[in-house]
């Protein structure tokens, strides 16, 4: 039967950690922990306190953006080898090797190579590390997304963000630790499963915040009651609940419930402020592209992310309109749209964080669930590229990552990661490391196993990209 200690295997929002801890001090054994969002001590001194993940659903094409492959020009149109062909799904539509239409150049003092499709990013090239040797294991979006977020190609596992919230808690008592900003034009594939907490307590799951309309579900009633009514109802409720609690002395769950009603009231004001972009300067809005229809939506979310990180939110994940990088056909049109929508806001975010002195303590990560094939899919002018899980590129900035650096390489045609390969597990271990955690020690006891995000897979921190 539930007793006080059992409550620890239950959950609470957090924000009442101190009150509960004192209430329970005598009851708590050292190894037990309260599942709340109070700040936790990292394993080692962290480089980054917060992370903004700019998730690029669909699989951006590495050979058109970051990974220049002259061999594709030399051998344009040649048929792929049997091994490559065996990984193709749409066999009938497949053509030969297809070079990029974009010109590549080295940018900044560091000379990071970026294609002309990302002119804004090129201007902050000296701030970023491009990893060109990422690889994953499954070529379907769903499975690859589960892999990227949860470390396995199957659902049910906690997302990286949930692990971070579990490991570090939040530094703001009035806001969620893990905020998800999805695109009003459509949710990503796998939807809420991208930020689920799996078998970690639900308090660590991402809180989906909308960038249009009411940011948090039911934060306010659709038709407001008169202010006096709200107060009357609250005080009557408090009275009822206090009497009920007194009939059950020492019941932590009832105590937590009362605290949560108080938190809900605080959130109504604080959350509203955090998402209010009208307080930003005109120059900032312009920089993020809020005045341009193409960039306004993504820019708004990037700017919200900065405001949230300023307020101590641990992790902000921004999703993109469904999967605009999934360019199976008409890739040149598709890339123009996707880059046009995201390039400027993403670069503005990096620069803005830097100017505000937040970049050193904020890790920005840009990338999708896989990359794309160096061969063409669909004929002629409609040509696109199919999913390519064996090699792809991401970039990272700030938060203890090298500035103006390129890591790893794919093979001659950009198909498969070849040098200094970085697996998804390596990526997870590295992100956790930057946030002050060791992926081997960030564990959760479940069914007698010490679960961790990297599971039993080999994983290493990519030391080469650490500043």
């Amino acid at each position: 039967m539930p007793n006080r200690r059992d409550f620890f295997s239950r959950i609470s929002d957090g924000l009442m950690g101190t009150a509960l801890a004192s209430l329970l001090a005598d009851d708590v054994r050292a190894e037990q922990r309260l599942h709340d969002l109070s700040p936790k001590k990292p394993h080692h001194a962290p480089k980054a306190k917060a992370i903004i993940q700019l998730f690029q659903n669909g699989g951006p094409s590495q050979v058109d953006l970051f990974d220049y492959k002259p061999a594709l020009e030399k051998h344009a149109g040649q048929a792929p080898s049997r091994d490559l062909a065996s990984e193709i799904r749409a066999v009938r539509e497949t053509g030969g090797l297809m070079p990029s239409r974009y010109k590549f150049a080295r940018h900044g003092q560091s000379g990071v190579e970026i294609s002309e499709a990302l002119p804004h990013l090129a201007k902050v090239a000296d701030e970023i590390t491009v990893v060109r040797s990422m690889h994953t294991t499954h070529l379907a979006h769903e499975a690859a997304l589960f892999m990227m977020h949860g470390g396995r190609i199957l659902p049910t596992r906690p997302s990286l963000g949930s692990w971070i919230a579990y490991g570090l808690g939040s530094e703001n008592r009035n806001l969620p630790a893990y905020v998800v900003l999805d695109d009003p034009k459509g949710p990503p594939i796998n939807f809420i499963q991208n930020w689920q907490s799996g078998w970690l307590p639900a308090v660590y799951q991402g809180t989906r915040v909308r960038s249009e309309g009411s940011p948090i579900l039911n934060l306010h009633a659709k038709a407001e009651d008169p202010a006096g009514i709200v107060d009357l109802s609250r005080s009557l409720l408090h009275r009822m609940d206090a009497a009920h609690r007194d009939r059950h002395p020492g019941n932590v769950e009832l105590q937590a419930r009362i605290a949560n009603y108080e938190l809900a009231a605080r959130m109504q004001s604080e959350a509203t402020d955090a998402f209010d972009l009208s307080k930003e300067s005109e120059a900032t809005k312009e920089a993020y592209g809020l005045n341009d229809e193409r960039t306004a939506s993504y820019g708004k979310r990037c700017l919200m992310a900065r405001r949230l990180v300023e307020r101590g939110v641990r992790l902000v994940q921004i999703y993109i309109e469904q999967q605009i990088w999934d360019n199976h056909n008409k890739i040149w049109e598709g890339l123009e749209y996707a880059c046009g929508k995201t390039d400027r806001p993403a670069a503005a975010l990096v620069r803005d964080l830097k100017e505000r002195g937040l970049l050193d303590s904020t890790l920005v990560v840009w990338g999708g669930e896989f990359g794309r094939m160096p061969i063409s899919q669909a004929p002629g002018a409609n040509a696109g590229r199919d999913h390519g899980p064996s090699g792809f590129s991401i970039w990272m900035a700030g938060g203890g990552v090298k500035r103006g650096f390129t890591h790893g390489a794919t093979d001659e045609i950009g198909y498969r990661a070849a040098d200094d390969k970085v697996s998804v597990h390596d990526f997870h271990a590295t992100v956790l490391h930057l946030l002050g955690m060791n992926h081997r020690n960030l564990t959760f006891q479940r069914d007698g196993r010490h679960e961790r995000i990297t599971d039993e897979f080999p994983a290493r921190v990519v030391q080469e990209i650490l500043a």
Binding site: D13, P155, D411
Partner: protein, 886 residues
């Protein structure tokens, strides 16, 4: 341009290795193996079929597969077993230097003196070839189809071949049609690969097929592993001694005159107030509170109350919900983003509700779910009765796990094995009380569940869940995928029914008209100016005709796909591409001691493997089935089971809080004929259940998500009790909230995995992935936000106030009293009455001001009084006492 793809690094590694003295088998390796391994794997015997004293024996390997793969140290069991210290089991381990020598030898190609790099090839066994062909060829040349007369499943059938001649000519790889067609990339046909979720063979795979044929296409001389609990050496006596794997023992009652439960478990607190007990019993058995009228009628005859509640249709709905959690019921497929609807899953839900309502004996209930299709010959029965339909619907049990195989991208063998794994996880956690997932990839670390037993269990279902002959989704198939028609779908099309005849008669003239119009379209002249217009007009007509078609009666079910079930092999490390030894079907050995041997039931129409599994599970001496179920019943009466980990009775699960009581209840359950309602009566009449709530007493607990929604509707007088049928729709609002306009009980509302109803999700309705044997009970601020601000709660509070005013008039005291009775099943105390009346009186002017400015034309005073009462009702719906069972 030959190096597009990184080739294996053997050459590079070999070059590096040649700097050291290159090890050779006779001179360098054999001495190590003789010293450390040959005791068990040598002249005296070859444990696990492996001998290490000859190189070809190492290449061939033992029952776990090849021990040495030349050039591939990571695929060589010899190295991984010794390097991880698993081997030798006894005696000194290999030294680091010895391991280094072994690794170098394998990396360089496992050579012997005088040989050159690359000259030693890995052995290819028939099972290696079978693994490749089963994934890439059997869909068309296997169990359900033999295109061109070709069956590639067995050695004999490959030799025999199809209408073009033998597929395999031993010793002549390049002359074998199998190789020719594959090498020319004619097979698998490129234009069908996507549709059938098949990929072409890689170089490596083709090389294996060729080598096997070139080496003589030798058949494996293999017999499936059979296990008898009586002689099984894999399980130790100590394993068998663990309490959960021994049959429950019925201890004599410590005090024969006491209530049996109380004889084992003494209540610490005095009996609860009658009204608190009344509310508790109502929620426990029906998921709803008593109405004021039911409260008034209650004459303290508690046992008669229990009889009434157990006879209520609301009871079936309530307890079906618990079972549906345990088996992971959802109205959508899950497994991928499209999360397609499972349009016919509801028949299983209705079956479960009826089963609880009618108090179907649990052993029968379980048997029907596991093998309802084997209980009668559904293929040749003349007329399907409602009972037959129920037996088929019951097998929907096997169709609950998330299943993304409706997408061609996720319909490969590994994903199919995932679906089977999901189902076995459900069977394990909901029925057997063990976690089976670990044993899929390695022997269970804590419980005596070897991987062998996992795959033996897989073999009990593969006649129906054939990974190489996988059925597309529900008919009509919503997704994409292989051929889907009435004969190729996992929904059973109930043909032998009058309903089917009627539908067919209805559809026939429509189909004739459609066929005619399709003919007309093909006859149109493309060069005519009106071609597009005419074609579109006809297509539009066809579309309208199609809308008039009716669907036949469809049952989402599991049934054997005909004779000759596929071979089931242990998949090494769970990897579908690494086939291990063959296994025969059977249940876990650890639970089988003292039970009759598992033998498939001899049936004409089906393999009988699942019926035998059901008989094994429901044997009166089964160590777990009855315990797990009585524990579940206990858990839903007390919040926590006697074993607090209801899905894991194994070593990593919790020990039973009171094993004598658990075992007494389990044996009583069997003794009463697995009578679920009798078990409720037994538990609920105990003093332990009837005591006051509080620490050490009856555990205070929150009502669950569905009870919250259903109760709010009932308080508002709006609950629609219409039972059964297709689930009611949900919809997503612009702000993302998922709601339903249905007023039926939540169990009848669509449960779409990716679109949970926001209110239910917030109150811990589980995400079925695959199932949930114990719900979380969170306390988060979003719950407060929902109850305070969501339309559902606010709107129904107003309905509740309106119904109260209708019932008792406009006297505030009478109104408040009824509000308390409705929400809390008790009258307010004098203090509470005063506080609520004051709040009401003070809120009337607030509402009046608002109404005067907004709707001056309407009666302001009476509306303000109604809204003030609604404020009280809304506050009650937010209160802890409303949400918790005292």
């Amino acid at each position: 341009m030959s190096n597009w793809i990184a080739k294996p690094l053997i050459a590079v590694l070999a070059a590096a290795g040649s700097l050291a003295a290159a090890p050779r088998f006779e001179s360098d390796i054999l001495p190590i193996l003789r010293a450390k391994c040959a005791g068990c794997h040598g002249e005296k015997g070859a444990q696990a079929g492996l001998s290490v004293i000859r190189r070809d024996a190492l290449l061939k390997g033992g029952k776990s597969g090849a021990a040495v793969a030349p050039g591939k140290p990571n695929d060589s069991l010899l190295l991984s077993m010794t390097a991880t210290g698993k081997m030798p089991m006894a005696g000194p381990k290999l030294t680091a230097a010895e391991l280094g020598t072994l690794r170098q030898w394998i990396e360089e190609g496992a050579l012997d003196t005088g040989e050159t790099a690359g000259s030693v090839r890995p052995m290819v066994a028939q099972r290696d070839v079978e693994t490749i062909l089963s994934a890439k060829c059997w869909v068309c040349h296997g169990r359900r189809e033999q295109r061109a007369g070709l069956d590639l499943r067995t050695h004999a059938s490959m030799r025999k071949g199809g209408k073009s001649g033998p597929a395999v000519i031993p010793g002549d790889a390049d002359g074998s049609l199998l190789v020719k067609r594959i090498a020319a990339q004619q097979m698998p046909p490129p234009n069908l690969q996507e549709q059938y979720s098949v990929r072409g063979l890689t170089d490596d795979e083709l090389a294996k097929v060729k080598q096997w044929i070139a080496d003589g296409a030798r058949p494996d001389d293999e017999r499936p592993i059979e296990v008898s609990a009586a002689t099984d050496t894999a399980i130790t006596a100590k394993d068998r001694a663990f309490w959960a794997f021994q049959a429950p023992q019925r201890a004599p009652l410590p005090n024969p005159s006491a209530h049996p439960v109380d004889a084992f478990l003494r209540a610490k607190l005095p009996a609860a107030e009658p009204q608190a007990l009344l509310r508790r019993a109502y929620f426990d058995l029906t998921g709803l509170p008593p109405t004021p009228e039911q409260i008034a009628q209650y004459d303290n005859n508690y046992e008669r109350l229990l009889d009434q509640l157990l006879a209520s249709p609301r009871y079936g709905e309530r307890w079906a919900r618990h079972w549906l959690d345990a088996v992971g019921y959802a109205d959508s497929e899950g497994g991928n983003n499209s999360d397609l609807a499972r349009k016919n899953a509801w028949r299983y839900r209705d079956y479960v509700i009826r089963a609880f309502e009618k108090n179907k004996p649990f052993d029968r209930f379980l048997t029907e779910q596991i093998a309802g299709d084997e209980l009668f010959d559904h293929r040749s029965v003349k007329q399907l009765t409602p009972e037959h339909m129920d037996l088929l619907a019951a097998t929907g049990f096997w169709r609950m796990a998330p299943d993304g195989t409706n997408s061609t991208e996720q319909n490969f063998i590994p994903e199919r094995m995932d679906v089977i794994a999901g189902q076995l996880e459900i069977l394990g956690s909901a029925v057997m009380g063990v976690s089976l997932g670990c044993a899929r990839c390695h022997d269970h670390k804590y419980d005596p569940l070897p991987t062998r037993d996992y795959y033996r269990l897989v073999a009990t279902v593969t006649p129906a869940f054939d990974p190489y002959s996988w059925l597309p989704g529900d008919f009509p198939c919503g997704g994409v995928g292989a051929k889907c028609d009435e004969n190729n779908t996992r929904t059973f099309v109930a043909k032998a029914t009058p309903e089917y005849e009627a539908v067919a008669a209805h559809n026939a003239p429509i189909d004739a008209r459609i066929a005619e119009m399709e003919k007309a379209i093909s006859a149109l002249n493309k060069t005519d100016a009106s071609f597009t217009k005419d074609k579109n007009a006809l297509n539009e007509k066809i579309r309208k005709e199609r809308e008039q078609r009716k669907l036949p009666p469809l049952i989402r079910a599991l049934f054997d796909l005909g004779p000759q079930p596929p071979p089931t092999r242990i998949l090494l490390r769970g990897d579908a591409a690494s086939a291990g030894p063959l296994v025969a079907p059977g249940p876990p050995s650890i639970m089988s001691a003292g039970l009759p041997e598992y033998r498939p039931v001899q049936l004409e129409h089906s393999s009988g493997r699942r019926l035998a599994l059901a008989q094994w599970l429901t044997h009166p001496n089964h160590p777990l089935t009855a315990r797990v179920m009585v524990n579940r019943i206990w858990q839903h009466h007390f919040g926590t089971g006697l074993v607090s980990t209801p899905g894991n009775f194994g070593r990593m699960g919790a020990a039973p809080e009171n094993q004598p009581l658990l075992d007494w209840l389990a044996t009583e359950f069997v003794r009463t004929g697995w009578d679920v309602k009798a078990m409720h009566r037994l538990i609920m009449t105990s003093a332990a259940y009837r005591q006051q709530a509080g620490e050490n007493g009856y555990p205070l607990r929150r009502i669950d998500a569905e009870s919250i929604r259903d109760t709010i509707l009932q308080l508002a007088g709006r609950l629609d009790t219409k039972p059964f049928g297709a689930p009611d729709a949900i919809k997503q609002m612009p702000d993302g909230e998922v709601i339903t306009e249905s007023r039926r009980r939540s169990v009848y509302v669509t449960h779409k995995r990716t679109r949970p109803i926001s209110l239910l999700e917030t109150f811990d309705q589980p995400f079925m992935n695959p199932n949930c044997v114990q719900r979380g009970q969170s306390v988060v601020s979003s719950q407060a936000l929902h109850l305070m601000n969501s339309d559902l709660v606010r709107e129904n509070a107003r309905f509740m106030a309106g119904r109260i005013a209708d019932a008792v008039g406009d006297r505030p005291d009478a109104q408040i009293e009824r509000a308390y009775l409705l929400a809390l099943a008790r009258k307010p105390t004098a203090d509470e009455l005063r506080a609520a009346r004051e709040a009401m009186e003070r809120s009337i002017p607030e509402w009046t001001r608002k109404l005067e400015t907004e709707k001056p034309a309407e009666p302001v005073v009476s509306r303000a009084r109604w809204l003030a009462l609604a404020t009280i009702c809304h506050t009650l719906m937010n209160s802890a006492e409303f949400l918790y069972l005292d």
